[in-house]
Amino acid sequence: MIATHAVLEVRDLCVDYLTDRGPVRAVDRVSLEVRKGEFLGIVGESGCGKSTLLYAIARLLTPPAQVASGDVWFEGSDIVSMTDSELRHLRWKRYSVVMQSAMNALNPVMSVGEQLRDAFLAHESLSRRQIASRSAELMRLVGIDPVHLGSYPHQLSGGMRQRAMIAMALAFTPELVIMDEPTSALDVVAQRSLMLKIKQLQREFGFATIFVTHDMSLVSHFSDRLAVMYAGQIVEVGETREVFADPKHPYTVGLMRSFPSITGALQPLSGIPGSPPDLAHPPAGCRFHPRCPQVMARCKTEEPAFYEREGDLVRCFLFDVGS
């Protein structure tokens, strides 16, 4: 079932890392959809597979990682089975990527303007003047003086670099922009201003975003829907407001309680005991059961499916009304 406004639909996607000791499943049967203009946040601890998921969707995985099974439908086309040359027509024009550290994501020996030009020329034949004017426009969009087009990445500040990356991602005003922790390398102030800028651009250009981060509080202010990942699986997904106001999965609950709020009543700070499982040997049944404060007998042997509650999908037996 492809939703009418779905820009992206992921179905049962599995991604494996081929190691010496056999394949390790980093992403396990993840399904989600992103509607037109929607801001979907994906949160989870380090190592939960969220970045792998993102790059699998963008078809940017490198060996030893590879898609083991599942589909990714982008605007009605199955991109998992596409060859590289078929994909190139979609890349950047229809969907683009913003990475975590612009210092690493920008070629250090080329100026920002040259890298922008590469992106333009890869898909359209434009004259030098057209490229120059469009590049300048993009820079101004994100609040950078176009004179910096001639600068090299190391000559710009961290915040400017991130914004330059976002400008690049919008070169062709794609339908989907995939962002992998774009704010993690910045200080809090720069983070907030970048997020506001992203939100503003999104409203202006109408692109959908998948925003991966480990920072719950940051993403909660800006996303429409939120998905929580744990050990390679999505454990809860729903409207951000709902997930935040009433977290259902025990893991989500635990995450919420780890982020103290500066307003409101004083709450004792708690974490989640234990540590994430080794994905080479995941626990049987529900992956969270060793750390779950509300674990039941069946959690140890059966894998929970998604159950609906108040518009959220939760992968937890606690919400299985049928039993």
């Binding site: 081929l18 394949p23 060996p63 030893p64 590879q66």
Partner: protein
Amino acid sequence: MAVRVVTDQTPLATAVVVGRQGAARALARALVRNRKALAGLSVFGFFVLVAIFAPLIAPYDPTALAFNQMLQPSRAHLLGTTGIGQDIFSQLVFGTRESLLIALAAGLAATAVSVIVGVSAAYLGGLWDHALNLFTDVFLVLPTLPLMIIVGTYLNNRGLLVLIGVITITGWSYGARQLRSQALSLRNREFLEAARVRGERSAYIIVFEVLPNMTSLIVAIFFGAAVYAVLAAAGLQFIGLGDPSSLSWGTMLYWAQANGALLAGSPVWVLAPGICIAALGAAFALINYAFDEIGNPALRPVRTKK
């Protein structure tokens, strides 16, 4: 001589902090699993065995002048005889001893100097670091064979010790650079902070905390130095700067060339020691490269599931 390129970013075996016993065992396990290392170690082991059991393997006394000269390979003389009537095969077998000795001794000596200079530079810091660095770079740039030739000729003593010394002088600089880089990166790690806070003296820290974590790099450098030693020794002996009266593969080549073996129709005399030199050098080189692969998994042969 193999071309060895030195850069500041020469991939280092990433120092994984392990306990002192763990380092050696982890290393050994990783080596055995690597095919290149296995091949190299087998060849090396083979030569060690030949050197140890030389009197049992060689059919004749290598220095005996008892036979006819320049004989072709035959059943009596597997590789023929030399220009003055010695059995080439026996020479080859016994020559293994000296060639191995030179390679290992020079390799060890060069590695030792590398460790001392490299680690000292990292720990003394400041002006000492700058000076030692310059010192290392200068030696790195100096062309090795000409330098060896000059020192060797001046010393006019063609003994084994001189040969080993000369190889050491020219062979330590490559490793020193790498060791300094890694020592620097280790210097700032937390477990060293902990040792300092405990009140341990610098020397103790260096010997008991830092060096064990650099084991894998040091061993890798040793094998690199050994490659260099094998080829340098061969080169020097070939032009006559070794001790022509001693018995090693390189001196065999010298005599072969002096007797015009190639043109006189006894190519085996030239080929045999050459193959041994190449094989030993290749063995060390393979082991050395295996360390690169162990430290940087991205370099290993890629497996793709179709």
